[in-house]
Symmetry: C2
Subunit: 227 residues, 2 copies
């Protein structure tokens, strides 16, 4: 990877800079237990992901949409027999998810320290504006970045807009993230560069359809050797 | 109002450029009917606004947070006896609210036409990123503005950030909107200017605590005579 003319290094946030999906997984475990009288774990998982997929177009990404999907799944799977009070519990989980402390992933600070004098650094995260802003603030990382872009979708047009706004040619822009579908594929599509740092748990809807030919790192700070 | 050195005219969106609150009011009427077996209309309204007020800090503004507040209110008010299927209906209303067509308010196009060659025009709207982006796109107005800022809260710091980003002195920045709490008060607080265009229906949490000394217009296009 020739990176001699690289100018901007952009970081995904959820599960690249800090933990996110694991909170969804924990909540989903509670949800599976709640639905156990009606569904086994596999059926609950299938029903929920199908509902999430349908609801993305209506509600977008984030905890609130996920919560509405859980509630609808619970009502459907129980054929309306789940007590309403159990659904209040689901909303209580949502409140906890919105408030969970931000836990940085290993090597994040060292990576930002090592790159800050060599490149322009930006963060690009998708999802709920209110929740992402809270997490950016709680992370203590906001000042590390020239800009933090919170976007509703990470598609080629989104990246093109960001690259244009930064005034940089796409081949001088590198995106680092854990989601092949959101952080890698659309960046390659506009002629940008990308590095994949997979996370142990990644949401089923974040996988690209095809294998992508980009560097894959085990931890974020391996970026320091690469750049 | 001396406006000789005005440079930027900023517009609130919901209930300034297009209808919004009336969709919440219609949904709340359905919700009141749904809860009629347990509460009268006044009690439902009181319970719901109290829940919304509490949930703002957890979930932020917008349809999804409103929906979670309706579900919690229904469970509380019915002491858990509301059938879960009735709550699925509430989520169906949310899907309708997210998808409602954007209806511009009277005089909006004429106002933008009349001001576009005299001032820099921007839009500033708060709430759910996904929903606000959808509405901006559906409005057909995006190209009319130098920038559209979707923010999670309209406080003095938010406006200061926008004014700084525009590179304009606060006294050369005028905000036009229907909410005294979100569009007028915080703008005056940073030394900006403001014009109030009240809407017939305004959410209870959008009223300022005090009367504010700014021009009040009956319709947006009265701005043309003022500027």
């Amino acid at each position: 990877m020739s990176l001699a003319d690289l100018e901007v290094v952009a970081f995904d946030c959820d599960d690249t800079l800090w933990l996110s999906e694991s909170f969804f997984v924990l909540t989903q475990q509670r949800f599976t237990a709640l639905l156990a009288p009606w569904c086994d774990a596999d059926e609950t998982a299938e029903r929920l992901i199908e509902r999430e997929r349908e609801n993305l177009a209506h509600f977008g990404y984030g905890v609130k949409g996920f919560t509405l999907s859980m509630i609808e799944t619970a009502i459907d799977a129980s054929e309306g027999s789940i007590p309403a009070a159990a659904l209040a519990e689901v909303i209580e989980w949502a409140r906890e998810m919105m408030a969970h402390p931000v836990q940085l992933l290993p090597g994040v600070l060292e990576t930002l320290d090592g790159l800050e004098n060599k490149y322009r650094l930006v963060a690009i995260t998708k999802g709920d504006l209110f929740h992402q802003e809270s997490k950016v603030a709680a992370s203590g990382l906001a000042e590390r970045f020239e800009a933090v872009h919170i976007v509703s979708e990470k598609d080629p047009a989104t990246y093109q807009g960001i690259v244009d706004g930064l005034g940089v040619a796409p081949h001088r822009f590198l995106m680092v993230g854990n989601s092949t579908r959101s952080d890698i594929e659309p960046v390659l599509a506009i002629g940008g560069r990308a590095v994949h740092v997979p996370h142990d748990v990644t949401w089923a809807l974040e996988h690209a359809d095809e294998e992508l030919d980009v560097p894959v790192l085990g931890r974020l700070d391996e970026l320091l050797a690469l750049l």
